[in-house]
Symmetry: C2
């Protein structure tokens, strides 16, 4: 089984979209360059949603056009609909994540439409993507727990996966958006996708938040199941707008250190990644939520902790 | 396999011994009562070491005498030598943890003697304990990584375990004192103790720190191996005096939430445990290092974060 693990760093998208103050475009580009310099090959750069809903990413079109063409670096962006698809492709992005939710309630609250409507949009986007040669990954928000509906069953994930894969066998990302997923759920979901839908490990990515400190445990179970693609954010930025007080995504640096310690290869330089994490932390309105930076560069975190929480 | 997991909360000992300001005796007793009220049955109340080395626990003799006799609650204390044994037993403690280190360097720095000298002391203490009817658990500091010697091999742990168990088959606790242990090391060590020394799962306890965020991952692997006894500290207090900037022990509340979510029973009331964690947090000189309290009672953590770091 492959010992190489791909990290998709989603800081510029999932990390920055939750910060009350929008980060200037130039700083976003600098962050992206620092991520690439650390050896991150997959970067989720932005999201093409309506700026009314996510003003922090209102610069998506310009940012996408300004992305530095770096050898070996693949940029992606999140889209919720056809309009997002068109904007993203017009701005030059060729790898897109189409997002919908594993729960009906979350789909309504997060995307303002029913799951059935989202699936119809996925069908439209798929037709365009196939004819444009654009790659999609389909991301399932709240794959393990929903702030409105509680625990999500493996059956619900499999049902949604079956509907999506009937449209086209795109790769799927299971996202633990509020961080309340448990390791046994991750194991069950991965196994069910393989057993019931004959999916390959390489068709499944995992996206964890660390709200309850389970990001690494959930990743560990995914690794043991053979999954080799994980999302994370540098410095653990991010969160969930429906989970007040919640901490952010799993910190990329915590995940990379676990992976290296277990003997996996990522191609990532940990010291340079910590440089990127230090840089990213200045955009956080909260104390550092990861672990590695605190352990290895405590001064950086203390500076951040002295700022009043807004 | 049993679904009951025993938590030994070591906050009054491992948590408070690392705080720069000693906590008043009355407050320690209040903390212990809050832990017991939450359903914690095993509490490591203090350490009988020389007050010159750990002034925070200089009140050990008085505290032990003042411990409230609560039904179903078992108090323990840490001892490094025969003098500690005598003080502990004189103060009424019947369950003791004899501590030594999995690395020679850490034994010298932490206990000021060679490992051979510690083993000789264990022999003396064992004779006394057996004749007094006192129970020992033997704790191995730095069982997975040592700040001075680096990664600790499974062979080194097995060798030390063999020497200890030749003295008497006491139960053992593997302690990840600097939090740098990895899940595969935990699995290897537990399996080796069973395979090479024919130890039972019930004879092994695990004690994790969360410096690098791996406390829950390491616990998960221990659980999967069948271990049912874990140490933790409420609010994640504690740390390692040789690891500057390091965060503390694995937070009891994070562990309990994981256990309950996985279907294990602990007998612990999570809300009352969070009350104890809120109480414990006021003694911490650092921002909250766990996860659950931040997710479920964010206001408590923010108050703590506004205090300047000394």
């Amino acid at each position: 089984m492959s010992q190489h693990v791909t990290i998709e760093d989603v800081t510029p998208r999932d990390g920055l979209q939750n910060e009350p103050t929008p980060v200037p475009l130039a700083q976003k580009l600098l962050l992206i360059q620092k991520l690439a310099a650390a050896g991150i090959t997959h970067i989720q750069a932005t999201s093409f949603v309506h700026p009314k809903w996510v003003p922090q990413l209102a610069d998506a079109d310009q940012l996408a056009k300004d992305l530095p063409p770096l050898p070996g670096v693949q940029y992606s962006a999140l889209i919720p609909n056809l309009r997002g698809y068109e904007r993203a492709v017009a701005a030059g992005i060729r790898h897109l994540e189409f997002v919908l939710s594993a729960s009906e309630s979350f789909n309504h609250r997060n995307l303002n439409r029913s799951l059935q409507e989202s699936l119809a949009l996925l069908e439209q986007v798929t037709q365009r993507a196939l004819s444009d040669g654009v790659t999609l990954r389909v991301g399932f928000s709240v794959s393990f727990h929903c702030p409105f509906e509680g625990r999500i069953s493996t059956q619900a994930v499999v049902k949604l996966a079956r509907e999506c894969r009937a449209i086209h066998p795109w790769r799927l990302a299971l996202c633990d958006s509020d961080g309340m997923g448990f390791p046994n759920q991750v194991r069950d979901a991965v196994r069910a996708l393989r057993d019931d839908l004959r999916m390959q490990n390489a068709e499944i990515a995992l996206h964890f938040h660390d709200t309850y400190g389970r990001g690494l445990s959930n990743s560990l179970v995914g690794l043991e199941e053979g999954i080799r693609e994980f999302d994370a954010t540098t410095a653990g930025l991010g969160g969930c707008p429906y989970c007040p007080g919640a901490s952010g995504n799993l910190a990329t640096e915590d995940l990379v250190d676990l992976l290296h310690g277990l003997g996996y290869q990522t191609g990532i330089d940990l010291e340079k990644l910590l440089d990127a994490a230090e840089f990213a932390l200045q955009f956080s309105s909260r104390p550092y939520q990861g672990h590695l930076l605190r352990a290895m560069r405590p001064g950086t975190c203390q500076k951040n902790e002295l700022r009043p929480v807004p």
